[in-house]
């Protein structure tokens, strides 16, 4: 009895071991692609990596972070990269994510391209300075009934260098069967605060990421994000500035204003902040205080749907009308806009009417 038990156990263990060894050995020998070089942007960077991994993870090991939310499963399609040479055929997982024009240009999902030999790829340059961060949510504060301010302390890496106006991609986690996604949010905190960042997030009804932030993300929880991304930033000129924002479009402007104050940039600046009613306003105290402190700064909050009989003493009307009333001549100014595409397009029209050249209008549209 004992002998047969021992025999079966020994046989099972032995055969398991032999087979496992075979598989491991096969993987080592068969799937050994040796050293492969990845040429980025026609020789701008050359990476030597051990072949066999996906392009996405090979690049990540070399500190080049291509945006990716799904963890390499091929479902988010954020990790698109142009592969000029060496990628092989398009696989069944990535095929549904590639449009005909993209296929023509050699665009691939870097998580599905395996490094089997030397590769030539193209990566947008600004991604070189992008890092992936792990942080901890230290504060979740409502700004209005539908806008939250998140304060995230960075843990690994510990600090971030960015320019006011740039954004990060926040990664949501899986919940209730909704897959992880990445969404872009501008930093609201000034760049001087390298260890913490603040984001402003407006609840999008049924939005995957915002629902996660509002309902599932708790203070103390760890979060993942990557960045900084984006070209929205103040220029180095002396031209007076017109800031125009609506709702959570406040974030990059608030970062820019605090950055200006800290660094002693004394350009004339007027900030038109558009909202529907008083309950949609936030940071009014802080901005008014900043305007009192600094004679170069003027803050103009404007409400478009505030009831006539209310106690609101500020501007009323659509942000475009308020803008037109205050700034009939915008020819010498630079415009910095952040908000919904509708608002931005309407404001660009008004600014051009006032004489602002189109190339002096900078904006960050929500998508």
């Amino acid at each position: 009895m004992l002998a047969s038990v021992l025999l079966s156990v020994a046989f099972l263990t032995g055969s398991g071991l032999v087979l496992a060894f075979l598989v491991v050995f096969a993987e080592r020998r068969i799937l050994d692609y040796g050293q492969c070089t990845i040429d980025i942007n026609q020789g701008e960077k050359r990476l030597v990596v051990q072949g066999g991994d996906s392009l996405l993870s090979s690049l990540a090991q070399q500190q080049i972070f291509i945006p990716s939310a799904c963890g390499g499963r091929g479902s988010c399609a954020y990790c698109k990269v142009r592969v000029l040479e060496g990628a092989g055929a398009i696989g069944p997982v990535e095929a549904p994510h590639l449009k005909p024009a993209e296929r023509e240009a050699g665009v691939r999902l870097s998580c599905q391209v395996k490094v089997r030999g030397d590769l030539r790829i193209e990566v947008p340059r600004h991604l070189f300075s992008v890092k992936r961060y792990t942080g901890r949510l230290v504060r979740k504060r409502p700004l209005t009934y539908d806008i939250l301010e998140l304060t995230i302390e960075l843990i690994e890496p510990e600090t971030i260098d960015f320019v006011a106006g740039q954004y990060v991609q926040l990664e949501s986690e899986e919940y209730k069967g909704r897959e992880p996604v990445m969404r872009a949010y501008s930093m609201a905190s000034p760049p001087s605060d390298k260890r913490r960042i603040q984001l402003m997030i407006r609840l999008v009804p049924n939005g995957i990421c915002t629902t996660w932030v509002f309902e599932h993300l708790k203070e103390g929880q760890s979060v993942h994000l990557s960045g900084p991304y984006g070209e929205f930033r103040l220029t180095d000129t002396e031209a007076p500035i017109l800031f125009i924002a609506g709702g959570s479009g406040m974030a990059p402007i608030w970062s820019m204003l605090r950055d200006m104050e800290e660094r002693g940039i004394r350009r004339q600046a007027t900030y038109f902040f558009g909202a529907l009613t008083q309950r949609d306003l936030f940071l009014v105290e802080e901005l008014s205080e900043m305007a009192r402190r600094n004679d170069w700064f003027t803050f103009v909050p404007a409400l478009s749907k505030e009831p006539e009989e209310s106690d609101w003493k500020g501007e009323r009307g659509l942000i475009t009308d308020v803008l037109r009333r205050h700034m009939p001549d915008t020819s010498a100014h630079e415009g910095y806009l952040c908000g919904s595409p509708g608002m931005i397009n309407a404001c660009i029209a008004v600014l051009k009417e006032g004489g602002m050249p189109e190339e002096k209008i900078y904006y960050d549209k929500f998508t």
């Binding site: 025999l7 046989f11 087979l19 075979l22 598989v23 068969i30 799937l31 055929a89 696989g91 089997r116």
Partner: protein, 201 residues
């Protein structure tokens, strides 16, 4: 019974034909139904998985035949056959997948996602287990495995072809998808019953 006086080759052919048609593993024994339902939406994917199944069924039948007769029987531990067969199939599939990936990227892309599915395809395990019911020689076991795999390949390809055609027809709402597929499989099984009794081994 496979008569011993029959020629080596003719017994091989007979076993192959019987496994493929009279005892079709998908349509007569209803094994490997899950991957069949999942993959048979199109002819080309059906072909891909079918070819992979033929290859793996035939090879694992031989491997398991050797393991059973030269390891399990001498040691008197035949009752471990189920678990051992499963592990052998899994390891084999994994190694084959690696070899295909290395040798032909094109074939790997065509078969790639189907190969791991095979590990849990009960038709493959079924072929290895049924093979033990008859006193086959190694060559006959190979013929049996090949026949089982080919039968499965034939069935899934036919089903794939019919399903492609059915996409163009208006199927009653409640029957769309798996419903109509199961009915098709049922009718095809009836057709394959026509083969029964044709060969008796």
């Amino acid at each position: 019974m496979a008569s011993s006086d029959m020629g080596l080759f003719s017994s091989f052919v007979l076993i192959f034909v019987s496994a493929a048609f009279t005892d079709n593993i998908l349509l007569a024994r209803f094994l490997g139904m899950c991957s069949c339902l999942g993959v048979s939406k199109k002819v080309d994917t059906s072909l891909g998985l079918g070819v992979a199944v033929v290859f793996v069924t035939a090879s694992t039948a031989v491997l398991n035949y050797l393991v059973y007769n030269y390891l399990l029987v001498p040691l008197g531990i035949e009752y471990l056959k189920l678990i051992i067969f499963i592990v052998v199939i899994a390891a084999f599939v994994q190694i084959v997948e690696m070899i295909i990936e290395r040798v032909s990227e094109k074939l790997y892309n065509a078969l790639g996602i189907f190969l791991p599915l095979i590990t849990v395809n009960c038709a493959i395990l079924g072929a290895s287990l049924f093979m033990l019911n008859k006193p086959y020689t190694l060559l006959q076991a190979f013929g049996f495995g090949l026949g089982c795999g080919f039968g499965w390949f034939l069935a899934i390809t036919l089903i794939g072809g019919i399903r492609e055609r059915i996409n163009e027809a208006a199927v009653p709402k409640g029957l769309e998808g798996p419903g109509i597929t199961l009915i098709i499989i049922g009718i095809m099984a009836l057709a394959f019953v026509g083969f029964s009794g044709m060969i008796k081994i």
